[in-house]
Amino acid sequence: MKFGIFYEISVPRPWDREKEKKVFDNCLEQVQLADELGFDSVWCVEHHFLEEYSHCSAPEIFLTACAMKTKKMRVGHGIVICVPEFNHPIKIAERTATMDIISGGRLEVGTGRSATWNELGGFRANPDDTKKTWDEFVRCLPKMWTQERFGYQGRSWSMPVRAIIPKPYQKPHPPMWVAVTSPGTEIDAAERGLGALGITFGSFKEQEDKVKVYHNIIKNCEPVGSFVNDKVSTVNFLFTHEDTETGNKVGRRLLGTFNFLAAQLLAAREAVPTRSYPSLGLLPALREEAAGPGDEAGVPEGIAIGDPERVLRACKKWEACGVDRVNFLLNALETVPQEQVLNSLRVFAKHVMPHFQDSSSQVAAAGGGGR
């Protein structure tokens, strides 16, 4: 199993210019350390208007900075919103290809569609259409990356034949993923040969069942890209400390803060009666997981919070479920001081990572894409 880090970029009020800069600087410092410690990848979301919860509206800029500050880590869009009101598909193809070149072929492209009214309403996107536009985008992107010239007449967008340039550094193209939050999206992922960014947790049993279904279906998939990415990754929280009490206490504070923040946002399902959003999406799912029944330390099962032994047990359980990568959320509202975040990464790398296959050797073998 591989380990990555995952950013929402949560900035507490009041938002003076130094505060936002400090949070971005802290994140980049964490990324640099994580690279040195052997974490495999850094991922970040694309969110808009999610006050305090996520100030990560330009992930391509943040990820480019990450690529510049690291040597080995892969950099991942987790995810880029495939809805035309947010991102034109040509721009996605161009931006990602450029990022792939600049990062030396280290880009992963997660795709998705947004699940909040804050964002969908802000961009005046129709919630009924997002699944359809996502499908159209993911079929077009690999062609835009690989064909010398590309033209298209589709449902949500069209273009005459043009050369979309530059082309990605990875050949044939970067690995593609989709965020799996709504029930059934793991099937969408498998049918299209896309990696599953399984960012809802559910129980271990539920996750294990989903992974089995995913692997069964992807064997007979019709890949949208030039190769199949059959990997499953999930998101978790991380705070670990040699001192059990500190690990639990600070970790619980991280969970509670995230939970509190995420709850305030307006899920598409809560706002709009539509069958396009059968579940509340990522935020409530993470919330429920974070608020789930805890063990004797008050930490929900499967959450990587506590001393290294407890975190190791949680990660081993995810590995047993068939998860290939866990991406860790490290902070929310800067509730964990930067020094403690950095220490937590070091403790994880020292005490937990060695119990899993070496992540640096996995980098070379990952994904596909002819690196």
Binding site: E51, E52, N118, G121, F260, A263, Q264, L266
Partner: protein, 252 residues
């Protein structure tokens, strides 16, 4: 830090709150209800003054404009209209009810006694046409409190609709203290539609909101036919504390 309610509750309660006669009412199951529910974004700058400290306004600020006709109930048919501010109690989505206009005095009285609803008598009109569903509310003093419609009706599944439970201020008859009462109804859908939301007029004062309530931007509209169970009260809160600290469970 995250935004939170900051309503000064006593003056607001003096205008709107009713007396609740204990927290032990039995549930009412009301069959064949028709519910028009329109969501609009509202003024972000004033929303914190429209919910008590118990709750946090959702981001973005929004309100549910809800009109429900109950063709049968233990006190006869009635129609009720509410404005609920989209909020969170702890981490749960809730609507904070500013005021409830009720078409029948008997229903207004029972709803207040049993669940503490901030009821007041008024004319509440709800009617479905083929091209739209219309609702309007007129206060006893003749002010037009709300005029709204759902245009271009389109059938959907009841599974596509998500209502949230509500909370409201009430004065406990036993000790005279203000409480925030949670009511979490259960809905069994028979028919569901959606359409384009349109608020034609809204009188903020009629809802006890001074000049702070303004419908800014349409979100959605639904019209359903369902059975509604107004459940027993499970929780009430201290309006001076956030819901994490100030919630009391009502013994079954």
């Amino acid at each position: 830090m995250p935004r939170s309610g900051r309503m000064v509750v006593e003056p607001f309660a003096a205008k709107t709150a009713r007396e609740i006669h204990g927290f032990k009412t039995e549930a009412w199951t009301l069959k064949g209800a028709q519910i028009l529910n329109i969501l609009y974004e509202i003024d972000n700058d004033t929303v914190e003054d429209l919910v008590p400290v118990t709750m946090r306004p959702a981001i973005p600020a929004y309100a549910m404009f809800n009109v429900t006709r109950y063709p049968e109930s233990p006190v006869g048919p009635f129609t009720i209209a509410e404005v609920r501010i989209g909020s969170r109690a702890g981490v749960r989505p809730r609507g904070f009810v500013l005021r409830s206009y009720v078409s029948s005095e008997a229903a207004a009285s029972e709803l207040a006694k049993r669940w503490g609803y901030p009821t007041v008598a008024g004319q509440v009109y709800l009617r479905a046409f083929h091209d739209r569903v219309v609702a309007n509310i007129t206060t006893a003093e003749g002010r037009k409190a709300l005029d709204m419609e759902m245009i271009d009706r389109e059938f959907i599944s009841g599974n596509d609709v998500q209502y949230v439970s509500s909370m409201h201020l009430a004065r406990n008859k036993e000790d005279g203290k203000l409480v925030v009462v949670q009511v979490d109804p259960a809905w069994t859908f028979h028919k569901a539609e959606r359409g384009r939301p349109h608020i034609i007029s809204l009188d903020s004062q009629s809802w006890g909101a001074g000049d702070m309530l303004r419908a800014d931007y349409p979100i959605s509209a639904s019209f359903t036919t369902c059975d509604v169970t107004l459940s027993k009260i499970r929780y009430y809160c201290d309006p001076a504390q956030d819901a994490f600290r100030g919630t009391t469970a009502v013994a079954a």
